[in-house]
Symmetry: C2
Subunit: 204 residues, 2 copies
């Protein structure tokens, strides 16, 4: 919570961030219909008026929440991958990167984003806001994965296998929505990492 000595601008930034995080939690736990500005504001401990000052419409709140949390998550994956690159090499690095990517897509953020994507399928106004965000998410996730794996993206085999790894991660995320799929997911990620590593390092 804000303290009396906190500068006004910092308080405003903290309020905004609490709203964005509460939006993700509401979407992931209670679904699209429940994630209204009022419910999110209450969860964040912010008045409805203050919430609407930051986010005039529900669509503003929801799309900005997904984008903010995605950016935060990708910064984490990038930092983890850079730290990793200095320690592990070879198959161990590939496994660590595949595991980090796969776990990203089984997060609360993925569950929230799934609610938004699915709702956008039948809501033209929301869809027109989500399509550019989806394109950005795809681009950034691909770049982070390429850097983390240390592969040459101009090689079409490497390019397509990195894409496939992200599609696999998305599919595994979907399999975790209704039940805890973590044990099976771990086995799949291990096998995928081993197969991917051989494919990426086979001379062409």
């Amino acid at each position: 919570m804000a303290t009396p000595h906190e500068p006004k601008q910092d308080r405003s930034r903290a309020t905004r961030q609490r709203l964005l995080e509460a939006t993700i939690d509401c979407l992931a736990e209670h679904g699209w219909a429940a994630a209204t500005v009022s419910v999110v504001a209450e969860r964040a401990g912010v008045s409805r008026g203050a919430a609407q000052h930051h986010f005039p419409t529900r669509e503003d709140l929801i799309t900005q929440a997904v984008e903010y949390m995605f950016d935060t998550r990708m910064d984490q994956v990038k930092a983890e991958a850079m730290a990793l690159g200095q320690v592990d090499q070879g198959a161990a690095r590939t496994l660590a990167v595949v595991t980090a990517l796969v776990e990203s897509y089984s997060s609360q953020l993925f569950k929230a984003a799934l609610q938004v994507w699915t709702h956008a399928a039948a809501d033209e106004a929301l869809r027109s806001r989500i399509v550019p965000l989806e394109a950005k998410v795809g681009r950034v996730a691909h770049r982070v994965a390429v850097e983390a794996l240390g592969v040459d993206d101009s090689d079409p085999v490497a390019h397509h296998l990195v894409q496939a790894t992200l599609d696999l991660a998305r599919g595994l995320g979907l399999a975790d929505v209704l039940t805890d799929d973590s044990a099976r997911r771990k086995e799949i990620a291990e096998q995928w990492a081993a197969t991917l590593h051989v494919a990426l390092t086979t001379p062409r």
Copy 2:
């Protein structure tokens, strides 16, 4: 539409099937909220009373629609795969099976099922009906894929790579919900089929 000479039982079966198909179309095109018994009945050209005779609740209609369409689809994939096994062998067969599986998950049925799965995440009553259906879907799709690829499922590498192929297909299906992803999907399926074929045929 039913003709006066059609036996009553056949008419009833045809009505039921029209309702199940209309449910999938409503879900895929207009989303969860729009797929009510009334809307589906109207789309199927069936009275609301007749629809409720077949499916007392909306959950009955929706879960049975997803199960029926999944069974139908898997029968098709199985028949295609059996025909395939007599023509193609080796890498061409692997590519054909991967393509058929991937395209299954980008169908109208997948888009409908995604609406149901996503809604079930925040609806305990629906979730308790969908979780056993999800388990069945996973089991049957795995068995069909194993038979179609002609691999030994008791080999853990083959088992996990077949699972990964289905997870990849699910992820690619999700990428097709808001935009037409068919061109990218084709490239990913081709690369994965090549990598999978090498991995499955490398002596262990």
